[in-house]
Symmetry: C2
Subunit: 341 residues, 2 copies
């Protein structure tokens, strides 16, 4: 096994596993000569998929895997020894620096929380999503790990999101906004207003912007969008739905007549570039922040390039100062008397 | 004054009032030979804007108007006698069948509620939005009249949204879904789950589909999407933001090089049709449902065609059986023991 960064991969999770996960792992290794991977899954299936043998790939055999229809509670009871469980466990016992899975989201969150435990000072981990914007990319959290969030939890999300954006987007001083609605006097729930006041006056070295509204997400008004898991999940899926609808409409519009078809052919270079920018594979990977180790969730339906992208994200995060930065800020707010319940 | 349907218009509200409102009113009248309008506002400004005199247009003079930066409480204190107030008051005292304003949303909601009062059995009116989908158009409510909604209120929103979709979309039996997130066991707040159970077993003659997720909105999975005002407002604005970003990206892509430009020219017919379908003017108009009369909110930045569209919506709703249908269903649920607080 080579030195350097080691990634534990659940090779059996995802819609097109293990083909996509193995191909994605190889793409990742090609881009990162310093890295190696531990592929967890059925050796008889995995071995033939490897394009060549490499001393940077180790297959760790298991017959078990978490299915996509398992409930989190079932995964906790029956998932022990599965490819997902073993990959996450690698992070816990130091065999890997981070884990990646494209499997069942609920199961992944539950197993990650059980195996990796929460960081000191974090009471509710939060799931992130990377959002393509007019200015580049922003981080939205929480997108579904929790249904609700009180003020202290929102502040913790802000602290984690900020360090995370620095780690994976390479922004020195990420700006932070709290998602709210703009209807004047009755602006925002109590929790949101309290978190807002707190971040305003925290004295922490954070670039807190203030409240933002839904349309600010795609504008890229801030780098980190803080919200509760219910609202964040609805926003994320609503945005995906609108993008899918418009994509279909543009395709229809460009293939509707012979002139349109010729035009679309000519415009192809520009459209291809756009597809590239907006390709979900390029922004693939969500992370359950606030755990004792890095566990990355790849989209279940991603292709090998998207899976490789999730692996890179895991590697970037594992190599960053994320946990130290978060721990330092959480300690500061603890001293100032705002503790999450 | 001609007989038939009478619309009261706040001619002074909106970013480009009174030009857009007067032109919009004339467009509306051209399409509806049976209708007439009462234009509330500054006669010296309004008169020169009329393209011709018509016995179907009556100008009702006032010097006062509600500004865009007024808070709802200020509008209630100082708005009496303003063009917005007077237009809504027309509905109350029977001088008009419905009112339309492109002015300050918060003020419009507050004045509408004060002047028109709530319908019997409705404790929280809800603001609607029309959402373009792959299948046509859907209605989302609440998009911001309230921050929260309990189970009984969500059920009331479902009943109002259903009758509203029938009135303005012409769908005989609109389907209804409650917006939720899909993260397995912890699916949904208590209020949502309770409303879901209730609609499932209500015995009302409603086509209740069940839970939907954010991406179902644009797919057109259901005709009526029920949610609380905070979530609905975030979803609406997030969707608008994604659409705006993608629109800009497509434009960039199609003007990025000489081939793309020629291509875009050739593809123009198709793209124009798309712009038409997605034009916000075509879906303009939100209604505060659950009041003692029809008060329609036009987007503040709309053009004259969009304003005319909002007028048509107001006319359709005023001419429909909306209130009778809602009253009948509310009475039924009252008898079954589910009363909103």
């Amino acid at each position: 096994m080579a030195k350097g960064l080691i990634l534990a991969i659940d090779a059996m999770g995802g819609d097109a596993a293990p083909e996509v996960t193995v191909a994605g792992a190889e793409l990742f290794l090609a881009a990162r000569p310093d890295a190696s991977v531990r592929l967890h899954g059925d050796e008889t299936q995995l071995k033939p998929l490897l394009s060549k043998s490499s001393d940077r790939i180790e297959i760790v055999h298991t017959d078990l895997y978490v299915t996509s229809d398992m409930k989190p509670s079932q995964a906790l009871r029956r998932g022990k020894g599965s490819s997902m469980w073993n990959a996450i466990h690698d992070v816990k016992d130091g065999a890997a620096h981070a884990s990646v899975s494209a499997g069942n989201t609920g199961a992944l969150m539950a197993i990650s929380m059980l195996v990796l435990r929460k960081m000191d000072g974090v009471h509710r981990p939060a799931m992130t999503a990377a959002w393509p914007t007019l200015r580049g990319r922003s981080v939205v959290l929480d997108v579904g790990a929790n249904l609700e969030a009180d003020a202290a939890q929102l502040v913790t999300f802000a602290i984690m999101g900020e360090a995370y954006a620095r780690a994976i987007l390479g922004i020195e001083k990420p700006t932070i906004g709290i998602l709210n609605i703009g209807s004047e006097e009755m602006k925002g729930h109590d929790e949101i207003r309290e978190a807002h006041e707190w971040l305003r006056n925290s004295g922490l070295d954070l670039a807190y912007h203030g409240f933002i509204e839904g349309d600010d997400i795609s504008s890229g008004t801030v780098d980190v969008i803080v919200t509760d898991g219910f609202t964040g999940n609805v926003a994320l899926k609503t945005g995906e739905g609108v993008a899918r609808m418009l994509g279909m409409r543009v395709r229809e519009a460009l293939t509707g007549g012979i002139l349109s078809k010729i035009g679309a052919l000519l415009a192809m270079a520009g459209l291809k570039h756009l597809r590239e920018q907006m390709n979900p594979s390029n922004v693939n990977g969500g992370v359950l922040l606030g755990l004792g180790g890095v566990s990355v969730k790849s989209h279940g339906g991603t292709d090998s390039r998207g899976f490789a992208r999730a692996c890179e994200l895991a590697a970037d995060l594992a190599a960053s100062h994320f946990r130290d930065e978060v721990a330092a800020n959480l300690e500061k707010i603890r001293q100032k008397g705002m503790a999450a319940e």
